[in-house]
Amino acid sequence: MATSEAGHSADQHAGDAHGHDHDHPDYLAHHFDTPEQQFDSGKLGMWLFLVTEVLFFSGMFCAYAIFRAWRPEVFEGCSQFLNTKLGAINTGVLLFSSFTMAWAVRASQLEEHKKTAALIATTLCCAMVFLGVKAVEYSHKWAMGLLPAGLFSYDENNPHPPGPNWLLYICMPFIVITIGVFLWMVFSWATKAKFQFQCAKPLFFVCLSFFGGVYLGTVLEPKVEDHAVHASADGHADAAEHAEGDPHAEGDSHAEGEAEAAGADEGEHTEEAHEAAPAEEETEEPVIELGSVVPKSGTMVDTSRDLEIQRKLASVEANSAVRDELNALERQDMNASGAITYHQTDDTSNTIAGSEEDVMRRSRAGVFFSIYYCMTGVHAIHILAGIGVLVWLLVRSLRKDFNRNYYGPVDYVGLYWHLVDLIWIYLFPLMYLIR
């Protein structure tokens, strides 16, 4: 979408039967006076589009900033589940692709058609490697249940429950496309359709590089049996201390975490879950958690629903007004019943500080992965869109559409590609390197 407008110029003209007897070259759209005006318009349009893209991501960067400020320990803890090696490789791959893209712009200006096409194809290969690595990262996390808040189901004692082979599912469409391109290549070679063969050949290698990325990812991503590596991903803020050790050494705290996680399940089941959970920790150091907030004595059952909602609101730092109201309400209730059921009123504001051990609870850790999937997912969609326009550009460069006076589309797609790269350069440290 972004760049399709940029290149509206050349093929536009052919269908126009207007009676102007001007000497417009083929690539100059009818409503522009000069190629410079057309180029400037396209470039300004592209820059404006990039501004909207930056603002689009800025919403998620804001969400990131807000939630990281509220729950720094969750972010630091969960960040360890991300494989820094793979992230670094992807960063390198994208940086390199930006370089080949910039070179392609230069080559198209110099009318080096072969080189332009080769460089664009290289850029495409890099994009595919990126996606391949990403596919491994995603599928591995899905298998472990490291999912957005509502679906989060990570279990430290059983981090690799049996489940579908996600990687295969992700690869499926790519396999189909690769086979399709391969058939196209063979067919065009057999029928001696020269231009088609010219297009299909680089595209086949582009498709293959996705599997190169997948291979790279699987080699570097820890194996399922390899528990020792997972220790570093155990989600404790101070995980570095026992990064080399066996995660189950801390079996007790894990069991607690387990119970907590179970307690944090869907609202209806909360009560039973809590009843079932070992209560030692609860009584010693009660911590009000979302979803686990259920009155323990019968005194507050009447208002429990309202209170629960209020409490959810109150656990968010900014809602000071709600919290005040809630505190008042509780005090009222205690007075009325004469029984003080909640002595941890102040803890609503303290849930964030000093609760390292429950970082990996479903209700808390999920938000990191929510933001992770939103940001990297939207970024991946941008990569996919970039692949789309790059393929279009590859075909056009093989058709020798570009020359020293008309190379706008290459330039605009280049700008877009650099932005996608740049966003990843921000995402990588913010997600992978925050420990």
Partner: protein, 585 residues
């Protein structure tokens, strides 16, 4: 493919009566020539039809709301005819869905694209003396995105409705069992339509101005469009990501906005209003541009304080980004934040007031013709002033505590959006109708519609100020009997308003069948669109037109023989070869 044939005869340049075969409406025929057109004028006309249909639907929903509120326990939605459609849904749920769809359709499908997309598409390139916008294909795709978004809204309506209010506040929007995802997807797509339109206009105005048209020789409509486009490009993406996150919240429970998963609903409000406050300027700024043109042309007097009017558009656009918090004074922000937002909110009233004063000063000692567009412009000034001033009550922290979420807000919003934008849109349509279709409507009918709209509007919304200040909350399907008199008055007013709008529609449609053709310069305007024929030819101008001061009316006089405005001096036209190659700064 929009293939055009333009004979190179000299009659096309004669600003008199065009031969009907040679304008943009007739240069190619058939449905396909419209569906695949890249001509900005046809796209403008398609938008005009589209937004009018959306307005009709949302307007009928509004009438439904008002009729329901005739009785304290609700009347209209309980009647058998409505029950036949809604089935056994509880009446109050139906009411919630009706007001939600009224708001959502009006905001996303009508007001936002009304002036910029419909009138703007038609006028921006012509006012610039250009052949088209910078990216004609993107322009067409904007229109189809609009259609696509509208399709989503209709499917939401048909699926299970929508009852969150047009603001989609969490946590209700994450739990409501109506088609929130369909509607938000629609709004998301409409957002992109709006972004692409804005982007197109910015580039067009930046790079395609003709030689001689410096920034300060641009018609004020272009300034307003430019300011609007800036907001569209800068604010809409934030709405896009907000709605995307909302969809993710509903489907995957990402826990960003939903307190059930540790999310924060106030964050949603911040995100939403960061777009939606600037969005009200997307709605009103183009209306300011229309009014600046209307007042100046129909007073036959140079606009007073051109630079102030131009700069105030930009000032509103930029200040508009800093005031979103005034929607959340009661949502639990810190006191310091509310004070800052309140102060910033007041600052926006300064550029708005500058505009009103400049319009009044333009009319002062002007030679005013009370034509239909002028009557609408005057109605606009009156209603917008009330709408703007009541905004100050809501921007004040203390009074907002009382007025928040009451009918006072409803009345304020409608004074600005209906009394402001809709009236300006109608005024603009009446003003440029002869240019668009080459046909003149009945002035009597036009003025009658303006009068009915004015009276109907006041009867509808003045009582709502009183209702609100007495404590009637918005969005309620039933109310205390003490409010009935005012509610009934408001409902009757809405019927008068509806009648006025139908009269306007009738007058305009009827003109299409009249044989008489409108002259090129219907009102004696000096901007470039009046220099080409009515309707304009396919490429707008055969030769690049000479750029003059857009508000210099001294050369333009009424010629009583030919019954139209003519320039007394022969125009100083530059031959094409004398033109500099590229529009400079």
């Amino acid at each position: 493919m929009s293939a055009g044939k333009i004979s190179s005869g000299s009659e096309i340049d004669d600003p008199g009566y065009p031969t009907p075969e040679e304008n943009y409406l007739t240069n190619s025929k058939g449905l396909l020539s419209w569906i695949f057109t890249l001509d900005h004028k046809r796209i403008g006309v398609m938008y005009l039809v589209g937004v009018s249909v959306a307005f009709l639907v949302a307007g009928l929903l509004a009438i439904g709301i008002r009729l329901h509120l005739m009785s304290p326990d609700g009347w209209f939605l309980e009647t058998g005819a409505v029950k036949a459609i809604t089935g056994d849904k509880p009446t109050n749920d139906v009411y919630n869905q009706v007001f939600t769809l009224h708001g959502a359709i009006m905001v996303f499908l009508f007001i936002i694209p009304s002036v910029p997309a419909a009138l703007g598409n038609f006028l921006v390139p012509i006012m610039l003396g250009a052949k088209d916008v910078a990216f004609p294909r993107l322009n067409l795709s904007s229109f189809y995105l609009w259609m696509f978004g509208a399709f989503f809204f209709i499917s939401a309506l048909l699926a299970s409705g929508l009852d969150t209010g047009w603001t989609f506040y969490t946590p209700y929007s994450t739990t409501s069992n109506t088609s929130v995802i369909l509607a938000t997807s629609g709004a998301f797509i409409l957002g992109f339509s709006s972004i692409f339109t804005g982007l197109n206009f910015i580039v067009t105005i930046n790079t395609m101005r003709p030689p001689g048209m410096t920034w300060f020789r641009m018609p004020l409509f272009l300034w307003a469009t430019y300011a609007t486009s800036i907001i569209q490009v800068l604010a809409t993406p934030v709405l896009g990501i907000t709605l995307l996150l909302l969809i993710a919240e509903r489907t995957m429970h990402i826990g960003i906005f939903d307190p059930q998963y540790n999310g924060d609903p106030v964050t949603f409000q911040h995100f939403f209003w960061f777009y939606s406050h600037p969005a009200v300027y997307i709605m009103i700024l183009p209306a300011f541009g229309v009014i600046s043109e209307l007042i100046s042309v129909h007073s036959h007097k140079r606009i007073f304080g051109y630079r102030f009017v131009a700069y105030s558009s930009i000032a509103i656009a930029l200040l508009g980004f800093l005031v979103w918090g005034h929607h959340m004074f009661t949502s639990g922000m810190s006191p310091v934040t509310t004070i800052i937002f309140s102060a910033l909110t007041f600052s926006v009233s300064v550029p708005s007031a500058i505009k009103v004063f400049n319009w009044l000063a333009t009319m002062y000692k002007g030679s005013i013709s009370l034509t239909t567009p002028m009557v609408y412009a005057i109605v606009f000034i009156f209603l917008f002033t009330i709408g703007g001033l009541t905004g100050l009550h809501l921007g004040t922290l203390a009074t907002d505590q009382h007025l928040h979420d009451s009918y006072f807000v409803v009345a304020h919003f409608h004074f600005v959006m209906v009394g402001g934008t809709l009236v300006a849109f109608l005024g603009g349509v009446f003003h440029w109708w002869p240019k668009m279709f080459g046909k003149m409507y009945s002035e009597k009918g036009g003025i009658a519609s303006a009068a009915l709209v004015f009276i109907g509007f006041l009867v509808t919304f003045l009582p709502q100020f009183i209702l609100g200040s007495r404590g009637m909350p918005r969005r309620y399907a039933t109310y205390d009997p003490e409010f009935q008199t005012l509610h009934v008055a408001s409902s009757i007013g809405s019927l008068i308003l509806g009648l006025g709008l139908f009269v306007a529609l009738f007058v305009l449609l009827k003109s299409l069948f009249s044989k008489e053709r409108a002259p090129a310069n219907m009102w004696g305007g000096a901007t470039l669109e009046w220099a080409c024929t009515s309707p304009p030819p396919f490429y707008n101008f055969q030769r690049a037109p000479a750029v003059d001061d857009p508000y210099d009316f001294t050369d333009i006089v009424w010629d009583s023989v030919s019954e139209r405005y003519v320039r007394v001096e022969p125009e100083r036209k530059l031959a094409p070869e004398e033109q500099p190659a590229h529009a400079g700064e």
